[in-house]
């Protein structure tokens, strides 16, 4: 049988995952990136080297470091090094556009940026902020040139558990990206609670194909470290025809994904199956996992435990369903994490009895303190209800008498698409910047899984391909609409905003 590891104490700083791992199981493999493999001990040694270098440069407690790279070992080393010195890491999507990056840099005012050749075009946006380069020749500051001591000094963690450890940027309700502040305590609590449900083992190899800028990808590093497991650092572009082969070659046993990844995997396994006997845990988040996918995954991977889950960055994870709980309630996304509470409220903010539908609200030690430098949005999203701090999810659902959660509809101001969370306001704003576009409304066609944009235009030569192409230059690929529809005028709500509900009805 697989051995359950001694748990790492749950009240500690984030870098302790690596520090303690290096003490408990120094020789076990932790990170694997292509041909590069690092044990826990070697990861910690390198993290400590980077941490010392950061301190020597005057970067310390509370300072931000912005990382814009593809998933790679250096991302992970820098991330933990920043946590170790009490700094605040910010990992951003490598396909970030300059305009979006500018808005984030204005908010975070970093002391350092970390880039690589694939994201070099963003370096100008950093202005006078120093940039450390990875895998890049001829730059003054190179990751590869950092001091590499065989026994680096171990710097004490200078902060407290409720200090911010990192920010996860996500679409805000207005279209301006907002950084969710996660504290060391938030992460330690939620990771232990998640690991209690998912039970990663020391023999596991966990695959990360999701970008590390997405908390679901990032947190795999923590769950794996609690169990002493190893992590394969993959990339989103590996989730195509080559995915089954990579899973086999890397001997992946834990596969966290989003519905599009599973859709592709199912398609490939039906077309040209590759034996994947090692897969034992499959988890889904980011979007609703259709029943047909669950059935296919169970058929293709009969030994795997399939876990539908529900969460949002503002508290990381809300609920997890265990396979043995699925039978009588196949549509459920599971029970809330232990030590947390979920309930639905009506439109007046009153708590609803079990089974009734309303906006889902969450309480518990996993609630983030709020959004970085955005007190108004923080207060709106985290109100005090009945004397307790509460997260309003914006999603509509219900909680049954046994405590199982059901999602009935997503909110109007956030769209989940291809595993990404996006704000329709952001897409609409960009569309309205296109010369000749008068008004725009963005909605998702949930049936066809398509992002749709409705526009009215003053320039009759604008057509669907032109608008899609113009948006692809300004937005990350997942935020670019699949279809564009033209209307003489867009429907408006009473207070003159685009009526997205009316637009959805036209699909």
């Amino acid at each position: 049988m697989m051995s359950l590891p001694t748990p790492i104490p749950s009240h500690s700083d984030l870098a302790a995952y690596v520090r303690e791992g290096a003490r408990q199981w120094p020789e076990r493999e932790y990170l694997r990136d292509g041909a590069r493999v690092l044990t826990y001990a070697e990861t910690w040694r390198r993290v400590a080297c980077v941490a010392s270098w950061l301190r020597a440069r005057g970067i310390g407690h509370g300072d931000r470091v912005v990382i814009v790279m593809e998933n790679r070992i250096e991302t992970v080393l820098m991330f933990f090094a920043v946590a170790q010195i009490g700094g605040i890491g910010v990992i951003l999507h490598p396909q970030m556009k300059p305009e979006g990056l500018q808005r984030i840099l204005d908010q975070t005012e970093p002391k350092l940026g970390l880039l690589e050749p694939a994201t070099a075009s963003l370096s100008e946006v950093f202005g006078t902020t120093p940039i450390l380069w990875t895998a890049s020749e001829g730059e003054a500051l190179r990751f590869e040139d950092l001091p590499d001591d065989s026994q680096p000094a171990e710097l004490p963690f200078p902060g407290a558990g409720d200090d911010p450890a990192f920010l996860v940027f996500t679409s805000g309700s207005t279209g301006t990206p907002r950084g969710v502040i996660l504290t060391h305590d938030n992460v330690r609590f939620v990771s232990a609670a998640i690991q209690a449900r998912l039970q990663y083992c020391s023999e596991d190899r966990v695959a990360i194909f999701l970008p590390l800028s997405f908390d679901y990808g990032l947190y795999q590093l923590f769950y794996a470290a609690i169990a002493g497991a190893s992590v394969f650092i993959g990339r989103p572009e590996m989730a195509g025809p080559e995915l089954p082969r990579i899973l086999a070659a890397q001997e992946i046993s834990v596969l966290p994904g989003v519905p599009t990844l599973y859709g592709g995997l199912i398609k490939m396994q039906r077309y040209r199956p590759v034996p994947l006997p090692k897969i034992r845990v499959i988890t889904n988040t980011g979007d609703h996992l259709p029943q047909s996918y669950i059935a296919s995954l169970r058929e293709l991977f009969p030994l795997a435990r399939v876990h539908p889950m529900y969460g949002l960055t503002e508290c990381k994870r809300v609920s997890i369903l265990l396979p043995e709980e699925m039978e009588p309630r196949p549509e459920s996304v599971g029970r809330p994490l232990d030590g947390t509470e979920v309930f639905a409220i009506d439109e007046n903010g009153q708590r609803l009895p079990p089974g009734e539908r309303g906006e889902l609200c969450v309480r518990g030690p996993h609630l983030a303190p709020g959004y970085w430098r955005a007190p108004e949005e923080t207060a709106k999203r985290y109100p005090v209800l009945d004397g307790m701090r509460t997260l309003r999810s914006g999603d509509y659902g219900s909680v049954d008498a046994e405590g199982f959660l059901f999602i009935h509809g997503r909110s109007d101001f956030l769209i989940k698409h291809k595993g990404h969370r996006l704000s329709p306001a952001e897409v609409e704003e960009e569309a309205c910047r296109i010369l000749g576009v008068v008004a725009a409304g963005c909605v998702k066609d949930e049936v066809e899984d398509l992002l749709c944009l409705f526009v009215s235009v003053s320039d009759a030569s604008l057509d669907e391909p032109k608008i899609i192409q113009a948006l692809s230059a300004k937005l990350e690929p997942a935020k670019v609409p699949n279809r564009v529809f033209f209307l003489p005028e867009l429907p408006k709500t009473g207070n003159q905003k685009v009526d997205r509900k009316a637009l959805r009805a036209m699909l």
Binding site: T260, L261, G264, M268, S472, P477
Partner: protein, 82 residues
Amino acid sequence: MTAADLTPKLQEILRPKLRFLSADAAVPMDEDLGKLGLDSMASIDLLMEIEQQLGVQIPDEMMTVDTFSTGNHLLAVIEKLS
């Protein structure tokens, strides 16, 4: 089939999958297909269409991210197989 015969056929299969490519532009063979709008799901359809329409089977060892990264990389693999 020679490269000259294959290129237009491959471009024809590629075009509808490159959603960021303008309708009047030729399918560029050297550009990153991801940047032209090919996502992972579309690349699976691409594999199936290439195999069915061009009568080849891409072997396991060539099923890599690199193969599906540009039109020319795909072309080189298909040529080797046909």
